[in-house]
């Protein structure tokens, strides 16, 4: 067995620590490189039956030139798509994984759980008119001092629409976009939500996820209110600000991220829904690690 060490230790360090706490042997899993650095030789020398990878460009492009060599060595590549964030691809990916690991029943159960959780949102918002959709701004938290990127039509950008809001960055080119600070002010968002994960290069960002501290996250989220020109934004005046773990996307448990978003954007429609409890239930039933730390945060 081998994996992309740099992905877990560098980019997803909180998850890496949560998992190594339960499975210390993970730390000894051989590294095969990451994206452009992937070493096909390292993969072949480990003699796996199958390579599991994400269907995102960087992953696929790194492996695609080596398909023939891998196959000659008796190794197949399987790609999962959790990136598109559609119920179809999420459930198809989980079921495929179940088939490979011989856990089809469990995979079907997880897929059904996911489908049900997402259906709550799509059913209640099916007939929502555009006038009832507040303006929403989302940003990857890099601290108040610098503007993190936002999303136009993909990832969180697409979710804003699905969760009953109007994305103020909709229609811009590219998946993750650098928004001009003046656009945020002139668009006057009614809801602001940050996506957060630990960063090595900044210290005043909001940090949520495995092992995150609530009071520190709250303090950092409050600090955004004093950003240049933000005191008069509707979202800031009404305290309609929230934050969630960035990895509550592109995961089989990302229904909780979508539900949190929906509840922040449409609090009346989703008053009875409890995203945190649903996430806890998922972890209880299906995850090998504990759900610890704070994953979502709302100032209201």
């Amino acid at each position: 067995m081998g994996w992309s060490h740099k992905y877990w230790v560098g980019r997803r360090n909180d998850a890496y620590e949560a998992f190594t706490a339960v499975y210390p042997q993970l730390a000894d899993v051989p590294d095969v490189g990451y994206n452009g650095d992937i070493s096909i030789e390292a993969i072949i020398s480990l003699q796996p039956d199958v390579v599991l990878a994400s269907s995102t460009g960087a992953n696929y492009n790194a492996l695609e030139p080596a398909f023939d060599n891998l196959r000659a060595a008796g190794i197949e590549c399987v790609f999962f798509d959790f990136h598109a964030q559609t119920v179809e691809k999420h459930t198809a990916s989980v079921k495929l994984l179940g088939k490979i690991l011989g856990q089809e029943e469990r995979a079907d159960e997880i897929a059904d759980f996911y489908t049900e959780q997402m259906a709550v949102i799509s059913e209640r918002l099916a007939d929502l008119p555009d006038e009832a959709r507040p303006r929403v701004y989302m940003e990857f938290s890099m601290g108040p001092g610098q503007y993190g990127n936002t999303w136009s039509e993909q990832m969180w950008g697409a979710l804003i629409r699905e969760c009953g809001g109007t994305n103020i960055a909709a229609g811009m080119e590219g998946a993750s976009v650098e928004i001009a600070p003046e656009q945020i002010i002139s668009a006057d968002p009614e809801v602001i939500i940050f996506t957060c994960s630990p960063r090595e290069d900044v210290s005043d960002n909001v940090v949520l996820g495995y092992g995150a501290d609530e009071s520190l996250a709250r303090e950092h989220l409050e600090a955004y209110k004093s950003r240049e020109g933000w005191t008069d934004l509707s979202a800031v005046k009404d305290n309609n600000m929230g934050a969630l773990y960035h990895d509550l996307s592109r995961h089989i448990f990302d229904f909780a991220g979508a539900q949190f978003l929906a509840k922040q954007i449409q609090p009346e429609i989703f008053a009875d829904m409890d995203p945190e409890a649903n996430l806890a239930e998922f972890f209880e039933r299906y995850m090998p690690v504990d759900l610890d730390g704070v994953w979502t945060l709302s100032l209201k």
Partner: protein, 350 residues
């Protein structure tokens, strides 16, 4: 024709030529002002959320009456950024021109000699250590000054030949390699920040950064302008200038220090903005020739106008976001620049 008549007529020609050059300076000054105003009026926001031109103008003339949001957008964001574009462009155009004169080399510019690369390296260290934005600028400045000192120390024994340019290029490669080393070891998060910093952007401008840059440029450039005649003598060759009584090494040391300061303070706040420091001097030479009294200010004003226009374009390219201006100056500037160079070659000028 008597000697006196001949003398008078050449004086008249000289006066007419000079007058034309003054008009070029005035014209370029107007271009800069107009471009700056257009820059302030140009919204970065997508059409649905744009401030109207009237709103911006009303806020400019009567900031107290404007709504809080409009005030922040116009006075705290657009105004300092637009003025910063002029000042940084001015500083880069100026330092490029001075570098080309003292090094007798048309390829010299702060960027080609590695000032931007060294600043990027300094910024990368700060980003990797997570020191925050003030330290990032400070380290970028320190390394930009350091590379200038290194270039000077390496080349000073033979300051009158091409060795300064060579040592500049050697330092450029050194810092590029160091930067690559840092990035190889850095995490993906850090790399993303480093790359973004090094693109070159005016968006990090605040009034404070603008003030610091402006003070440095306003003190340094007059000190260069007052030596214009000496630099003109230098264009005939270092020996000729020395025989005319110019202290060549003294002049070069002073010039090198002043332009290092201007270039370093510019890149430490904006990141690498290439090309402006190279194009400014060449356009200037085409417009006014080698007379350094005109060549320096025209190059500086060309730099200012170029960067200001690039700032406008960087907001238009993708409504709602601001494209890194360093990429704009290179992608749009390079073809434009080559067309100028090739046209003037065809006309038999150089």
């Amino acid at each position: 024709m008597s000697y006196k008549e001949q003398n008078d007529s050449s004086r008249a020609v000289y006066a007419r030529l000079n007058q034309k050059k003054y008009w070029i300076i005035i014209g370029l000054g107007i271009v800069c002002v107009v471009s700056c105003i257009l820059d302030i009026l140009t919204a970065a926001a997508s059409p649905a959320y744009r401030l109207s031109t009237q709103e911006v103008l009303r806020c400019l003339f009567n900031p107290g009456q404007a709504s809080a949001g409009t005030y922040v957008i116009v006075i705290k964001m657009r105004l300092p950024i637009s003025i910063m574009a002029l000042i940084v462009g001015f500083a880069l155009g100026m330092s490029g021109a001075v570098m080309q004169t003292i090094l007798h080399n048309p390829l010299a510019s702060p960027y080609t000699l590695g000032v931007g690369t060294a600043a990027g390296f300094g910024a990368s260290i700060a980003i990797i250590l997570g020191l925050g934005s003030i330290a990032t600028s400070a380290l970028a400045f320190a390394f930009a000054m350091l590379i200038c000192m290194m270039i000077y120390m390496l080349g000073r024994n033979n300051i009158n030949s091409g060795s300064l340019v060579l040592s500049g290029i050697a330092c450029l490669f050194l810092f590029q390699a160091l930067q690559a080393l840092l990035q190889y070891g850095a995490s993906e998060d850090q790399n993303q920040s480093i790359v973004f910093w090094s693109f070159g952007s005016l968006q990090r401008t605040t009034w404070m950064k603008l003030l610091i840059t402006a003070v440095v440029v306003l003190i340094s450039s007059p000190l260069i302008f007052t030596d214009s005649w000496k630099y003109t003598a230098l264009t005939m060759g270092d020996e000729k200038a020395a025989s005319l009584g110019v202290n060549v090494s003294g002049l070069k040391i002073k010039a090198f220090f002043l332009i290092s300061l201007m270039a370093a303070v510019s890149v430490c706040f904006t990141g690498s903005i290439g090309f402006v420091g190279l194009a400014g001097p060449h356009i200037s030479r085409m417009l006014v020739g080698e007379d350094q009294r005109f060549y320096f200010p025209v190059s500086a004003l060309c730099g200012a106008a170029l960067l200001s226009m690039a700032s406008i374009i960087s907001k238009i390219i993708q409504p709602g976001s601001v494209f890194p201006v360093g990429i704009v100056t290179s992608i749009i500037g390079v073809p434009f620049f080559f067309s100028l160079v090739f046209r003037s070659n065809r006309n038999g000028r150089r």
